[in-house]
Subunit: 355 residues, 3 copies
């Protein structure tokens, strides 16, 4: 069951100001378009503000001053607004307040799990049926290991982690606290390292590991290759989407956001707060400075200085990339104009100085 609260209580919780009926009771969060009176919704992007004129939501979290721009027909139900500096963060708080996070299974080790006698399991840990915890593994207090998770030898899992079904953590990999791994994640499989010699590709043992720092979350079926030597690192607080692939010896900085299907080749490095859009790729050994933003579907083939926004393949400064993308579409016209110029110049030359 969801919690309920009044609009005024919610406003207090998120630090906002009520415009409308503070006594109205809400019980769930919902998208703006087909919400009804029990619902909390939000507008974080002014582009969607027009829906405020028609929504049937009970209350909407909006930016300060928004109430002045709303014009609602008389036959619509009343709409309360909560004006707050960061409506999207306020929405996050509202979802946590009314719905909470997924209720995890109660602590306890399933008799159907295989936990090696040498493994060290903290307090209040859940290990589900058919999970396998190998020799020398440690699992910190409060962690949740779902059914079918495989944790190989000497891996270390921090406290309050959640590993969903079918996650594999290879040997000697290290997870910090509060790490969340969605189903099918592969942590520490061998890096793609082969020395081609005399016609064969000789496998280089990948003897490093993977370190996922505190508060990392990885989407479904994401793969982090272990380092050839030393460590592949995903920095504190970074969040990666689904089917992302991180090459060996890559160092992802703290608080990065990589959308689904991104790929980073080996030995790449990113700074703090780097954002990479979906399906983009970063070449091997590239360095992305703090705050770099890479648009979706870009291919980064060179280092990118801190703070720069890039797009395209090869990725260049965002504004140039956009301008080039627009002008490419005029190529048929440009070709025609060049042809016409050639004709005219030909005629002028023929008429020429003798004219």
């Amino acid at each position: 069951m969801n919690q309920t609260c009044t609009v005024a209580q919610l406003a207090q919780h998120v630090g906002g100001t009520v415009v409308g009926d503070g006594a109205h009771v809400v019980s769930a969060c919902h998208g703006l378009e087909d919400a009804d009176a029990v619902h909390v919704s939000f507008v974080a992007n002014a582009k969607y503000g027009k829906h405020l004129d028609t929504t049937r939501a009970g209350v909407v979290l909006v930016a300060p001053g928004t109430h002045k721009t709303v014009h609602r027909a008389a036959d619509l139900p009343p709409l309360a607004l909560i004006e707050v500096k960061d409506p999207y963060y306020a929405f996050q708080q509202a979802v946590v307040l009314l719905h909470g996070f997924r209720r995890q299974p109660a602590a306890g080790i399933s008799p159907l799990a295989v936990v090696d006698t040498s493994a060290v399991i903290g307090a209040d840990v859940y290990v589900g049926a058919y999970a396998v915890v190998a020799a020398g593994v440690t699992i910190g207090a409060g962690s949740v290991i779902y059914p079918h998770v495989a944790i190989m030898e000497q891996a270390r899992i921090g406290a309050n982690c959640i590993l969903y079904p079918h996650v594999t953590v290879y040997d000697a990999c290290v997870l910090g606290d509060r790490v969340i791994l969605h189903s099918g994640c592969v942590i520490g499989s061998d890096g793609y390292g082969f020395a081609t010699h005399a016609g064969a590709h000789h496998k280089i043992p990948q003897v490093g590991n993977v370190i996922l720092e505190d508060d990392v979350e990885l989407g479904g079926n994401t793969v982090i290759q272990r380092a050839v030597t030393e460590s592949t690192i995903i920095g504190k607080g970074s969040k990666l989407g689904d089917c992302v692939v991180i090459g060996h010896n890559t160092h992802v900085g703290p608080h990065n956001l990589f959308v689904s299907q991104v790929g980073l080749a080996g030995s790449a490095t990113t700074g703090k707060y780097v954002v990479i859009g979906g399906q983009s790729g970063i070449g091997g050994h590239m360095m992305l400075g703090d705050g770099v933003q890479v648009a979706a579907r870009s291919g980064v083939l060179g280092d990118v200085p801190a703070g720069m926004q890039v797009a395209g393949t090869p990725a260049v400064e965002l504004k140039l990339a956009r301008r080039v993308a627009m002008q490419q579409l005029t190529l048929p016209d440009l070709v025609k104009r060049i042809r016409e110029l050639e004709d005219k110049v030909e005629k002028l030359s023929a008429a020429g100085p003798s004219a």
Copy 2:
């Protein structure tokens, strides 16, 4: 063992006309190039019609009138044709007739599966070893749950579904009837939703679910994110390839075809019969109308009206995209021509009006 049939029987089954020996017996389907007398093959694309002059297949399913275009050397074995309006569909019928679908395990619940006592399991369901069916789950009659499948709390599986090994269905997700999920599919992992505030990315609980309607099929390791609120939906009869990622709150319409490695960002919407080629990406909140076709490796960054074919990144109308792609390759030549024009115009200007 495969079934066998005569060419005449097969023609009757697919509603086609025999040209050649209707009494010839065939027993298997096969590619055209190295087929032999027992084989049924097909030509759906006239481009491959030339192989009819040399194939050793017993019978080939072809478009009406094809027999007039075939010229075979005297020393080749006789070739029967079945002329039929839709040879590819006829081939589908032939494969079903002669080979059938994969024989699934007999109904029954493995004593090595964990099925919560509150789960409701229909008639003739198979649940394999080491599958886990959590509290409140329902599974419809005739469904096949392979070993290692994890179905989390309150999920609902329709009738005659097939879930291959290592599929995860998260809590509260809903599958219609005859849904097929290949190994490693992740249904309903958390959507990629974080509110960045004061330097940290705060996880937004994803309290919606995923709905896969009837007759959906998903390839291996495909991930469908659950909605933040409400549902991520894959419409009836839609077929997605491998390693596809569908963002939260996205609504895929009925009868869509998405090839492998496609990605749809959050809150995108597609109409009926949309086709998306491999490795293409659709931006967040984009709307694709009925019958839209997106070429492989395209990036759709705007809405696409019904019936339109698009290609490229950013995706534009297919013919323009192709023309631009061709003309880009002439850029070195265009640059040269511009330089030459500049020289000539320079000379003309110098010679100028005073000439």
Copy 3:
């Protein structure tokens, strides 16, 4: 524990020549930049040669003659070099010598595995807890089947293979010897084959299989579709990265290297020693000749003759692709120059013959 050896022993092992102290003892491989005296490192690319002036590694594997280019400050610890023709292969040999490959579990079949009585298991095979080996499967001597692996009916696994947790091998697929499959690989799921008829997409039973020849290695979560009829083949010694998808009936030649997130559509064919960079896609039915190299993020839409290097989408000859990519960035300038030319020509025309 790692092995240890002297620089002279290592030089003899890799067939190189010592420049420096052959008696120095090393015990581990490490990246060049933060190595110390016990470490072996390498420089395979002259670009990274400058690090030789400052590294604190005990010994570095380098190309012949490199010692002449090294200039080290007097206060740095002594550096030994081993000059050898192929330093990267020498490094591979060093890692094997000092670290070895992952120590695999001891042979034996877990009492918690399900192995069908009709399965034929070779000598010295390991089958981990919760693995499922179905009817008619064969597993060759020395193979390692990790927990949670699912091997479906009639599949054949060669000798000395390693299947990591959560691998699925579908029915009737065939693996050669020494095949390595990382976690989450899906071998032989149904090819993407549907015949669209009267508004529905009819599934074509995929009755072929997958053949992985000897010494193939696949990264995490890679998917190989089974053939509609006959076989999808990955040739001997080929190495594929993570989240790669190979379509049905595709034939990958021997000794290919495909980096992560590559996709090959159905019925494509590659020759020997083909290399495909990350996130690239190959269209259906395309043929890539021996030694073809495809740059990262390319889209191959036509056949590519042997030995050619290609890049871009649609992929063209590498040098042209690079030149075009550079010149695209000058489009804003080209447009300006065309506009200026038009102005000048307009003026010249106006001044014209009457001048």
